[in-house]
């Protein structure tokens, strides 16, 4: 792995596309039917990638490496990142990771990140659309003993040794400055990621990981450097992880039951244009501070 003096990491996740859920999205036992849902780049993570690339645009020699944990096909996430401006990526993949909750995931990620000795910034999306926990970013920062700024919306300023960002909070926004190293989670309101770039797509479309090369019966060593080295795969052994802290063993979260909740209208009131109904509506609007 080539690292730069200004190393930026982006934590990204491949998730099922829950935005366009069809009837077969859930199995009978209430778990997600992954086969029926196309996978996508977690939307908040794409915004995190954009903020990382904005830093790279401003700091000469900065390098953006995308880290994803998941099955081998998560290499798609790395390629997508290369198309948009990242330099390279790592797929952390091992059967031992299966069943990881946020604690085990952040342990694995933190352990992997320790292999870099010169991290300046780590970006991640605020949360993933499949779990919606918003825990992995902050937990990873804690384990790395790194300060963190959550809910980042705009990159205001960045220099060789400090960064200023605007955070989006429930009751307003906050501008925060920090030195490095630092982990930031990026809010869904942040700028959309830049588009794929034609030249980057053409030159990176054949980039593949070791297991993808095997699957396509390619001899990885015969491939040119620019195709062979941009996606690395790290196993549990590669990151020297403690097996008892991975996967099911390392996950205290126990799922008791998953319910398929169908939202139904409960408190709907039909109002007509008579005086009484309009009065009810006005009182309701004033009560909820929409008017008045």
């Amino acid at each position: 792995m080539i690292t730069s003096k200004f190393q930026i990491l982006v934590l990204a996740k491949q998730v099922p596309d829950t935005r366009n859920v069809e009837k077969d999205a859930m199995k009978e036992d209430g778990t997600i039917n992954r086969a029926a849902l196309p996978t996508i780049f977690n939307p908040d993570d794409l915004k995190a990638l954009e903020m990382a690339l904005e830093v790279k645009d401003r700091i000469q020699g900065a390098r953006v490496t995308v880290v994803t944990m998941g099955p081998a096909r998560a290499a798609d996430i790395i390629r997508e990142s290369l198309y948009r401006g990242a330099d390279d990526g790592i797929v952390i993949s091992d059967r031992k990771f299966a069943g990881s909750d946020t604690l085990a995931t952040s342990y694995a990620l933190a352990t992997a990140l320790k292999k870099f000795d010169n991290i300046k910034l780590v970006f991640s999306g605020r949360q993933a659309i499949d779990g919606d926990t918003a825990q992995v970013g902050p937990q990873t920062a804690e384990k790395l003993n790194m300060p963190q700024i959550t809910y980042c919306e705009t990159l205001e300023e960045v220099t060789e040794d400090s960064i200023v960002v605007k955070r989006r909070l429930d009751n307003g926004c906050e501008t925060v400055k920090s030195h490095f190293p630092l982990l930031l989670t990026v809010h869904g309101n942040a700028a959309d990621c830049r588009p794929r770039n034609a030249v980057r797509v053409i030159s990176n479309k054949k980039v593949c990981s070791l297991s993808e090369a095997k699957e396509r019966n390619l001899d990885i060593n015969s491939l040119p450097d620019n195709i062979r080295t941009k996606i690395q795969e790290w196993t549990a052994d590669d990151i020297n992880a403690d097996p008892s802290r991975l996967g099911f063993a390392g996950s205290p979260t126990k799922v008791k039951n998953i319910e398929n909740v169908v939202l139904s209208k409960k408190e709907n009131i039909t109002l007509t244009d008579n005086e009484n109904d309009i009065d009810i509506l006005m009182k309701e609007l004033i009560k909820s501070h929409i008017i008045g």
């Binding site: 770039n197 034609a198 030159s203």
Partner: protein
Amino acid sequence: MNFYQDNEKLRFYLTHPLMEKIVGLKEQGYREAGQDSLAPIDFEDAIDNYDKVLEIVGELAGEVLEANAESVDHEGPHIIDNAIVYAEGTQKNHEAMTKAGLYGMSLPRKYKGLNFPYVPYVMAAEIVSRADAGFANIWGLQDCAETIYEFGSDELKDKYLPRISEGATCSMDLTEPDAGSDLQSVRLKATYNEQDGRWYLNGVKRFITNGDADIKLVLARSEEGSTDGRGLSYFLYDRTSKAVTIRRIENKLGIKGSPTAELVFTNAPAELVGERKLGLIKYVMSLMNGARLGVGAQSVGLAEAAYREALDYAKQREQFGKAIICFPQVYEMLSNMRAKIDGTRSLLYETTRFVDLSKIYNAISKERTLTAEERADMKTAQRNADMLTPMLKLFSSEYANQVAYDCIQIHGGSGFMKEYKCERLYRDARILSIYEGTSQLQVVAAIRFVGNGSYLKRMEEYDNMPLDDELKPMLEDIRAIKEQYVKLTSIMTAPSYPAELFDFNARNAVETAGYIIMSYLLLQDTNRCRCFKTSCENMITMAKAEVAKRLTLVETIGEDKINNYKM
């Protein structure tokens, strides 16, 4: 929304059988494979590149351009401190297209281009136009790079082409207050200064699309005392020289996001493109053909947008207890809209393939001598491109107007309201049959191919192409219509036929040829994919009726009747 992926007909033309030859020639036998990471290793790899890049175009068109189109139409560009500032949405569009590396698509890789043939590039133009026909002008003026590449010196190419690939905008400055369709009357003066060895431009240009572009190609009178086209040369003006005043931006009916400006050149330093005196007679003619192809793509894209709007509305809108699409008069309109779009799209990519071949051979001929066979091939491609380009411009722009008109009609009263997109499409469509040569001028350009038998020869070539047996009855139908064309041309090309009457009936002749060629093309498409069969049959039906009408007109309006029309 992805405007590439949701339209399977585009990929159909990307994989036309002739593409293997076009791509092979364009990549010169894939000789750069392995040396340049952007060079395709074989045909499949190249098509995969085009496919992936068009996917980006489709995504940006469907997500970004489409979303900005309405606000761009309302806001339009402004002049601030003698500079044109685009509407906010236009700026965002341009920024997104630049970041995505979608400028310089057809330029060679050494100028930071993608070295794509014209087929995928024109397809991108169609996709962009479907989202915003006005923005398609700003983006599509990267075509100017093609003129610099074909005719400019190496120095000029090295200096400007990479800038265009990186998103520098272009304009072609031809029209003047007294020189519109008649460009021979251009007066803007170019003077050579012996002392510093530079050219300087002085004068006025009007109706200049994207008038404040970074790089301008300007037609100017370099030969003092001359009065016709042979005294005109072509110049490149760099905006950083700051010697052009923007007098005004026109307030237009449509394509409001695309700034149209009146400009005053005052001692504006400029560089000569190519050779002196060839400005109009060679370079502008070449540029103009490219621009007409661009309007063809723009027209098909806009018509596609209007058709989809109309179709969606007709499915949703219920009257008399059912969706209005169920009523014969409504579905008739929709089916004819689709046949018109399918017919002109087929003509668009047929024309583009010939443009590709002739351009590619031309580029190769600068490196090595072409073989006799290649030279003949290039000549045929060039002739086919020349004869199909005005026909494409004529039909696609007129059809775009008709389709946009019917789109409003299907929307009924709602379509007349500003809330619906179709009124913008209708306004945007109106310029298509006017700029880059009016429909009338396309007829003037096309009529010689009626006279010299080129269209008939082309029809016969389509007639001899292999065809599945089940489609032969359709071929017979087209043959019967073709006989009507033979009859029509025999009247008009008789030695005794008066010249004025010939001009009078020219449009009837050119349009007759057009209906038949589009029918043949759709039949060939149907042979490859049955998804075109309905449109093909509907086009043949339309052709039958339209050709009969035109033949009647030509047969009826003779020397005596033409006087009735004179004003």
